[in-house]
């Protein structure tokens, strides 16, 4: 029996009711000198669920968990929206993340950016994201790109990616991102926040929703320039974006295509604007 076969047998023996405890997974990593990702994939391929996903089980099957684990999602921006998006995708079980951000953490990020802390001030956001996720879920690979997204670099930055998440903080950058995703035929989940408010929309190639919405907008920034951003708004919008990503990857549910979800936490209204 080759190593892979031996690994699968070991995992199968240790699994209880097709659920594998973390201690056994860690034991397998040590015995077979393989990575956490290797044991994760081997388990899921064998129909065994790593115990960390038990609370996903009723809505995401083991086979679907494998689909998520084999997927690569790019998160463009690792700040307010991006931090929540990255953490949620990793906990969900998406196996490969590309974290893109040229910036370093600053003090004013501490009110909302979940990877920011006094200890991470001055450090690149994408690198810190990788460290943070390694501690939460060692099986998830985070490829940090310490660079600003650009149309010129898009093909390189988004190689191998299945879905792109907009976690940017400028309007022109978002238009460039949507153009790039269109050219690369990649689904894009858009999110934007300001104060009590936010927007979410999903574009499959050909939809061109953002290009239509922002066709006449010349401003770099929106109302966030006056309102700032509290902790809860990026969390809400990021979570909506992650739900969209999950549905795209699994091919389930209804997507926010040709729509703009308008989130108003001040008046507690979430309205689906058909476009």
């Amino acid at each position: 029996m080759d190593n892979r076969g031996a690994l699968r047998s070991f995992l199968s023996e240790r699994a209880v009711d097709c659920v594998l405890a973390w201690a056994d997974q860690a034991d397998a990593m040590h015995r077979f000198q393989v990575s956490c990702a290797d044991t994760e994939e081997a388990a899921l391929e064998a129909g065994i669920l790593p115990a960390r996903y038990r609370r996903n089980q009723r809505m995401i099957s083991t086979a679907q968990q494998l689909t998520l684990f084999r997927s690569t999602v790019a998160v463009v921006g690792c700040g307010g929206l991006g931090g929540f998006v990255i953490e949620e995708l990793a906990r969900l079980g998406v196996g490969h993340l590309v974290a893109i951000d040229p910036d370093t953490f600053e003090e004013h990020n501490l009110n909302r950016q979940i990877f920011s802390s006094p200890a991470t001030l001055g450090r690149n956001k994408a690198l810190v994201a990788r460290e943070h996720i390694a501690a939460i879920h060692p099986g998830v690979e985070v490829a940090p790109l310490q660079a600003a997204f650009s149309r010129e670099q898009a093909a390189d930055m988004l190689t191998g990616v299945s879905v792109v998440v907009d976690a940017l903080d400028s309007v022109p950058d978002r238009v460039a991102l949507s153009e790039a995703c269109e050219a690369l035929q990649l689904p894009l989940v858009h999110g934007a926040i300001a104060g009590w408010y936010g927007y979410v929309a999903t574009m499959l190639p050909g939809d061109r929703t953002l290009q239509h919405i922002y066709s006449r907008v010349t401003s770099r920034r929106g109302i966030e320039a006056q309102l700032g951003n509290p902790a809860f708004t990026p969390a809400v919008v990021a979570s909506l974006e992650v739900a969209e990503v999950c549905k795209i990857l699994l091919g389930v549910g209804s997507l926010l295509r040709h729509q703009l979800l308008c989130v108003n936490l001040l008046d507690m209204e979430i309205e689906n604007i058909r476009l």
Binding site: Y199, R216, L260
Partner: protein, 74 residues
């Protein structure tokens, strides 16, 4: 003519969420925005009767216009 105006997010502040306004017969989306004190440059999305519209579009009796601000933070 009577136009239903729906304002979203910050455009509501100091104004209203939903109101019927009397407008001159040749009013455009731009005129309406100006009358409400909303600068053109702040408008992200304009919908007239649920269809995306431009500032210069003329309104007709019974139209519903919705104005959304630009949100670009992350």
């Amino acid at each position: 003519m009577q136009i239903t105006v729906k304002l979203y997010l910050t455009f509501r502040l100091g104004r209203f969420a939903n109101q019927v306004l009397a407008c001159p017969p040749d009013a455009t989306a731009s005129h309406l925005a100006q009358r409400l004190g909303i600068p053109d440059t702040e408008i992200g999305l304009i919908l007239i009767n649920t269809h995306q519209a431009e500032l210069e579009q003329h309104l007709v009796e019974g139209d519903t216009i919705a104005l959304f601000p630009i949100v670009g933070g992350g």
